[in-house]
């Protein structure tokens, strides 16, 4: 049953993706000041939105695990975090490429890029730590705690870097002008939906693996108890 769901999501996502990409690449006029590169925003920012959506779902499931000790919630959390990392990576790579054109530098500690990079670092620690814990209950509890601590850190990073930007002599370049051309909203939201669909399919796939892994854990214990 789950296989079907994954394919439906994936196909739907791909169709919508092709439509949106066509719309962005061909139909839409170039961005006024920045030229074609300006449209990078339509890939760059929705990726962050998708990533934060998945991190949010993961933290919600982590809390659910701590309260209800439901291992399915833990598997859902790790699947969401892994896929969210993929979209964070997309955001960082596109942001860097975009930055290279506008300011000629590959990376800047702009507060949006940095908090995204911090997300990546914090949840990278989460993913690295999981295989190091053998006992399933402990691994799930630790992961839940880490996920919650990490999400509490993100607003602080945002605030800290913003503080730092204000102090630095050369005001660090801001990626977008903040006010986006209203006609851009439809492709922007569509892109976000595309990421959610494709991300959803990946999460389902990863979730199936996680449940299989749990099954293997209990089979190993079964063997041990025999």
């Amino acid at each position: 049953m789950r296989e079907k769901k994954i394919y439906v999501l994936a196909i739907l996502g791909t169709i919508l993706m092709v439509a949106t990409m066509y719309d962005i690449l061909v139909a839409m006029p170039d961005e006024a000041q920045q030229g074609p590169i300006g449209k990078m925003l339509l890939v760059h920012v929705p990726a962050a939105f998708a990533a934060f959506t998945f991190y949010g779902v993961a933290v919600w499931n982590s809390i659910k695990f701590l309260v209800k000790k439901d291992f399915h919630a833990d598997s859902l959390a790790v699947s969401n975090i892994e896929v969210a990392q993929v979209f964070t990576l997309i955001n960082l790579v596109t942001g860097s490429l975009w930055g290279h054109i506008i300011w000629g530098i590959w990376w800047t500690w702009d507060f949006r890029l940095t908090s995204q990079f911090m997300c990546f670092m914090l949840y990278l620690g989460y993913l690295l730590m999981r295989p190091a814990v053998s006992d399933a209950t402990q691994r799930a509890t630790m992961s839940a705690i880490l996920a919650i601590l990490a999400v509490a850190d993100i607003p602080l990073v945002f605030f800290a870097i913003r503080l730092r930007d204000a102090r630095m002599q050369h005001p660090s370049p801001v990626l977008e002008t903040g006010k986006m051309d209203p006609s851009w909203w439809p492709p922007f939201l569509l892109m976000w939906v595309v990421y959610l669909l494709i991300g959803g399919a990946l999460i389902m796939l990863r979730l199936r693996q996680e449940t299989v892994r749990r099954e293997m854990d209990s089979l190993r214990r079964e063997l041990h108890a025999m």
Partner: protein, 225 residues
């Protein structure tokens, strides 16, 4: 409530008593701090004024590295003889146990920092005496932030296999907002700038508040599996 706080102090006293008796972690941390400090003196020639910008940053990197040697050990000290089980099974609530551990690690960290600060000033001839008291206030707040998150991670990873490698990867990224605020303010203080340190102090205080509350609340889930 009062009895729980008292229990936390008893635990802190136990940790400090065992630590000052053996002094292994303390000596290791202080000597490690001095070694890193000497390395930095060769790496950067701080006398030149424009390099003064990084004096605050270097200081906190030294404190962080030396400090995490101590903080990582806070719960591993309970592993031999399964003492952690006895503490968790006792009427002392988990948050009081966590508070006791944090107080003892915080005290040790402050000792290490107060020992290595003069050497830092000496080797890089930075005049730290003039602004010592505001700096001391900052050190108290920042060290508490490092301690609380460090002790929480030490509890989380108490029996993870490669925990010495794992802890920095988990702990340092989380500390970055705290360190940004602390480094900015330390640099300003060490350079004697007449700059408003309000926002940095507020950032450090908010970090402390959030993670102290969060850790005190979550420790129950960490210890009672």
């Amino acid at each position: 409530m009062k009895r729980d706080l008292l229990a936390a102090l008893f635990i802190a006293r136990k940790d400090l008593r065992t630590e000052f008796r053996t002094k292994e972690a303390l000596n290791a941390a202080v000597s490690f701090a001095l070694v890193v400090l000497v390395l930095f003196s060769f790496a950067f020639d701080l006398e030149r004024s424009e390099l003064y910008d990084i004096s605050g940053g270097l200081l906190w990197i030294i404190f962080l590295f030396a400090g995490s040697l101590i903080v990582n050990r806070s719960f591993t000290r309970e592993v031999p003889n399964d003492c952690l089980d006895v503490l968790v099974a006792s009427p002392v609530p988990a948050w009081a146990l966590f508070l006791g551990k944090s107080i003892s690690s915080f005290t040790l960290l402050m000792v290490v920092e107060l020992i290595s600060l003069p050497f830092y000033g000496l080797f890089n001839n930075i005049i730290w005496m003039k602004t010592f008291w505001p700096h001391f206030g900052l050190m108290l707040l920042t060290t508490w932030g490092i301690t609380v998150t460090g002790v929480a991670f030490s509890a989380v990873t108490v029996n993870v296999r490669l925990r010495e490698l794992m802890l920095p990867v988990l702990h340092y990224p989380l500390l970055i907002p705290l360190l940004i605020g602390a480094m900015e303010m330390s640099t300003a203080l060490l350079r004697g700038d007449a700059v408003d340190n309000g926002p940095n102090l507020r950032l450090v205080a908010v970090f402390d508040a959030i993670f102290t509350a969060l850790s005190l609340y979550l420790i129950e889930f960490i210890l009672v599996t």
